[in-house]
Subunit: 228 residues, 2 copies
């Protein structure tokens, strides 16, 4: 069985004060509703765990009704850091779940094809991540003021979500993170700690995340183009 | 005196066969016209050199008439590589030019503020480049299949154009590239060869480049938002 964990418990610190970006209306619907719909409709996903802040649970339940999301889902309260939220989500999985796809709630354009491709890769190798080759010219700077050198971008990949795992792999990886008292920025970084190889899965459609207000027009244009 | 070199001689290989992206209509006008207008209107730029493919010169001259570009400009024929095109553009500068801002023709949202900031930094240090901190999680992979490690993105900057220089600096840098028979992906990489420090200039507005067809909706939304 395949489950999705949609992580919707962030603080949106880069969006400006007091705005929870997940409930911003984008192409006529709250951002989180777009993301949820992608997983609600994906044939490769059997159930959904939404990791939320305690005060948002009722709002999300209303969304499910308003937009007719039908796939089995449940709510779990998030933790202090992203990795704690994922940890709580993993604890809520039923015993039959073999593969878990972990998704940023603020990434609303993820295609079913990409979700399915990460699931297939994770089933094979244990861990997989949606990724894009870096196409910009990248410079390294130690002080943020002067260029140190040009980085070989042919080795660089920008990673997205879903980050998809065999359940026992991501549990073991996050346990190691907790044991060492570390903070990791993404779930595949946890896999590096236990030397679990992570497969790159290259999507062929844009799959951006809303991080700053300036990201909205682009994502709106994508959602209108691909259908909401 | 400050001059802009707009490099419009590329082959658009990533846009699909037989499409010169610079003449694609974006927000109602050819892409290159948007870029040209930014420099035509920028008070900090005194003249413009357009580096073009031989068969496109007449088309560009028509654009100047159609859109009423008034700033002094001239056309120069491009070379085999981007660095050869820039070299040809530099050869066409008049003797009074002190600072040259080199711009991708396919980057139509560059603001006057950003152009002016790179000019000020290049006047001070010799070389400057428009840049953005990398915000995505970046992984390194040797084979494009499996993740090797998570890269420390706090040291990484994605560079754009304008790349702006004191004229004698970029001439000397590109001379060194030619002497060594190298190919560089951008003009500031040439500066690294002569140990010329390059200042990062962080813009506060999006400044994307059209590389693939999928980039168009985003850039269109930006152009409509900022005014064309």
């Amino acid at each position: 069985m395949n489950c999705a964990i949609i992580v919707a418990a962030g603080r949106s610190t880069r969006m400006g004060a007091d705005r929870d970006k997940l409930f911003l209306e984008v192409a006529g619907q709250p951002l989180v509703a777009h993301t949820w719909r992608r997983f609600d409709r994906a044939g490769c996903i059997d159930e959904i765990v939404l990791v939320v802040r305690e005060d948002k649970q009722a709002t999300l339940a209303q969304l499910a009704g308003r937009f007719g999301f039908e796939k089995r889902h449940r709510y779990v309260i998030g933790g202090a850091e992203r990795q704690d939220s994922v940890w709580n989500g993993l604890a809520a999985l039923s015993g039959e779940v073999e593969i878990v796809a972990i998704q940023d709630a603020a990434r609303p354009c993820t295609s079913e094809r990409l979700i399915a491709a990460t699931i297939a890769a994770a089933r094979e190798t244990g861990a997989a991540v949606a990724a894009q080759p870096v196409t910009d010219t990248i410079k390294e700077s130690a002080d943020g003021l002067t260029v140190l050198r040009t980085v070989d971008r042919s080795r660089l990949w920008s990673v997205q979500t879903p980050q998809t795992f065999r359940v026992e792999v991501i549990r073991r990886a996050l346990q190691e993170v907790r044991r060492r008292g570390l903070t990791v920025t993404d779930d595949t970084a946890a896999c590096e700690l236990i030397e679990q190889p992570v497969r790159l899965v290259v999507g062929d459609e844009p799959n951006p995340k809303v991080t700053r207000p300036g990201d909205i027009p682009y994502i709106e244009s994508l959602l209108k183009f691909t259908g909401t």
